[in-house]
Homo-oligomer: 460 residues x 2
Amino acid sequence: MHKTKTIEPFFSPKSIAVIGASNTKGKVGYTIFANMKKAETKNVYPVNPKYGNVQGKKAYASVSAIRKKIDLAIIALPPQIVPDSLEECMKNSVKAVIIVSAGFSEVGEETLTKKISALIKKYPKTRVMGPNCVGVMNIRSKIDTTFFERSRMEIPKKGTLSFISQSGALGSMILDWVATQQFGVNKFASYGNAMDIDEADLLEYFGEDPKTKVITVYLEGARDGRKFFNIAKKVSKTTPIIVLKGGKSDETRKAASSHTGSLAGSSDVYNAVFRQSGIIQADDLLDLFNIAKLLEKEPLPKGNRVLVITNGGGFGIVAADQIISHGLKLAKLSKKSEDELKAALPRASIGNPIDLLGDADIESYKKAIGAAQKDKNVDIIMVLVLFNLPTIEAKKIMSLKKARASAAKPTVVCAIGSDYTKKYMKKIEKAGFTTFNYPSVAAKALKEMVSYAAYLKKTR
Amino acid sequence: MHKTKTIEPFFSPKSIAVIGASNTKGKVGYTIFANMKKAETKNVYPVNPKYGNVQGKKAYASVSAIRKKIDLAIIALPPQIVPDSLEECMKNSVKAVIIVSAGFSEVGEETLTKKISALIKKYPKTRVMGPNCVGVMNIRSKIDTTFFERSRMEIPKKGTLSFISQSGALGSMILDWVATQQFGVNKFASYGNAMDIDEADLLEYFGEDPKTKVITVYLEGARDGRKFFNIAKKVSKTTPIIVLKGGKSDETRKAASSHTGSLAGSSDVYNAVFRQSGIIQADDLLDLFNIAKLLEKEPLPKGNRVLVITNGGGFGIVAADQIISHGLKLAKLSKKSEDELKAALPRASIGNPIDLLGDADIESYKKAIGAAQKDKNVDIIMVLVLFNLPTIEAKKIMSLKKARASAAKPTVVCAIGSDYTKKYMKKIEKAGFTTFNYPSVAAKALKEMVSYAAYLKKTR
């Protein structure tokens, strides 16, 4: 059996046991079971010898007492009794076990850690995630083993982005934020102490997952650098991987090592590994998901020549400055499209930026975008719109879809403003464009996209 | 009379003539007059010989026909008749004239430009802004000469930020965006072709304006570099100036020169001028107002040592990485406050970051912030909050105000998330903290604040 197949039961289990499911609010075992109940996840069995029933559902004294095949067990118990519970799962051929309990190697507890380690060796057919983790989410199948407070955060939309986070809390914050964004999530995993399944295994799994188009990773330190490198190199050929590395300097590496107990190698080593394996490195949180959004929504560009189209001269100049300072090039229109556009838009200033001027309408944007899509001198199109100018007809925004439809070129739209602008940026998204607020953020994401495309070309 | 006094009538006129006020919707002269009518600005007189009344108010055939002292006249007429109208204003001792009409030097029209130039020399008592500009806004006195579409944008709150923009359209977009932010605006000016009043005059005026705490500038090219340098050097000693320079490379400078007709000097020259005159240079739009917000709300730091306080280990590490990569230092707590905090918060990890752990409550934040405020080894405090963790008591957030009250140190709070987090970030703002979404954005703004404080120290 292919190795990644053994990870599937974490994300698509047909039956689930929640070991330590509780009736006491505030307990992790309460929240996990309550979240599943609320999501109406099917075939979930609470396991707790203390209760006859848990949150109104019949409780079982043990996994074997369920007398059904269990795909996934979640262990939320005090650390001392975790090894016995894990062994019972293994003896009952549970395919996947998530140990959310903390109190193991991350706090220097050796005896219990060794016991778990021995069990993982003895029963290789049961795969283990954790301990000290929040587990997984699968937005499509509504599998959610995390114990995040649902009243305090939103669940992201369905999408094609999968996300691996070494930190459960940071992961939860990011998922909550992603819920407010243009793009959606496929699967999430936070793997904690990585005693069995580690970041590289998940990377490989997501790389083969047909619903995953882009992989993002928050990583403090890889468990096995060589394994991570080899798998990343393979996966990045078909699926872009964006990594935010926590602990980039000696000082923060020390903090990272006390946080997840992982050995965060030097930045130079990681930078080299990332570069050579085609991994895109994000500078920070803002960067991480803006790059991901762009890669999820837009085709890869053939080169680095960007055309700016604007209805505000100053806005165009600010954006062009950002394109240049991020190492991209300002495209030079072909003579043919220049002549065509001059004839079609006699008042506009046809250069780069193309300044359609303050009285531009949607029709003039359509003409300019259409010409740029055809022009071989243009690889990427950045459209800027001052929505507050009176000649932009709100009603016609959806008609831009046509200009976009033929698009084999990444086309992004930038605008900032209050509610009026926000409303029409949503329409622009519906018309199929990827939107950003700031040209600088778009330019940074485009730069990384161009580098990734160049890496693929070079290594093909 | 001090020179900046002659600029005051633009922002606080007791009487206003709108020359070219119109009954035809869509005309600039219509919008300007309609905006003033809607804002209930007092003593506004429409001037238009074609109409008996404009938008229901008695119209005058000329400025002299008003038979009242006019402080400010706004000329919105075809360019050919602007010089005559300007001379009539000057003959009638109008103190300030804004020429919004375009069609002068920016399109290569020399004859009319020369006529205006001669009038400015002949009547120095009348100050002129423009031509080719949107004029001014004074949020406090509700003076607004701009012709922005009010249905498409919001007016910023009252505040202490003043804003000079060489580009009217970019200015309008930014004002609209500022309206959605934590901070407010005092005055705005967009001065167009700068035939009389230029960016340096406005800088000087805002520098002496008691309601202006921070000045932001969008600048493509200074009319008189030496004058700008001298005034900036003087003003920056008391009021921070943040400039976003449009046209940073040879290519974009060309575009800038066709946009505002100004000669945008080389980046090296500008960078040197900015550095030597204490100007803070913003990289882009995102930067511009985040630096401004920080300088408006927080005291200047004594040094560059930042303490991070968090309830999420990974979030803390990401923030600490940003602090270091922006050239700031991670503060090392004094032995005394370390001991105190270890006693007060026995479970927390007392380093930098201080990790209060996932079960931290508001009380523990108060203790940590309080200790940091007292510790001489700490110059700046960056607080990170994962609001979705269950032990953060929403009700107690306002009590953080106390920890902040004694604050002589810049203290910022970072969080990202959906509605729940957004709601409580608003509370955090009310409790007196400056908020940012991303640690990277906060770190960049803090870096610029630290550099500005160091410049002041050096030149004092």
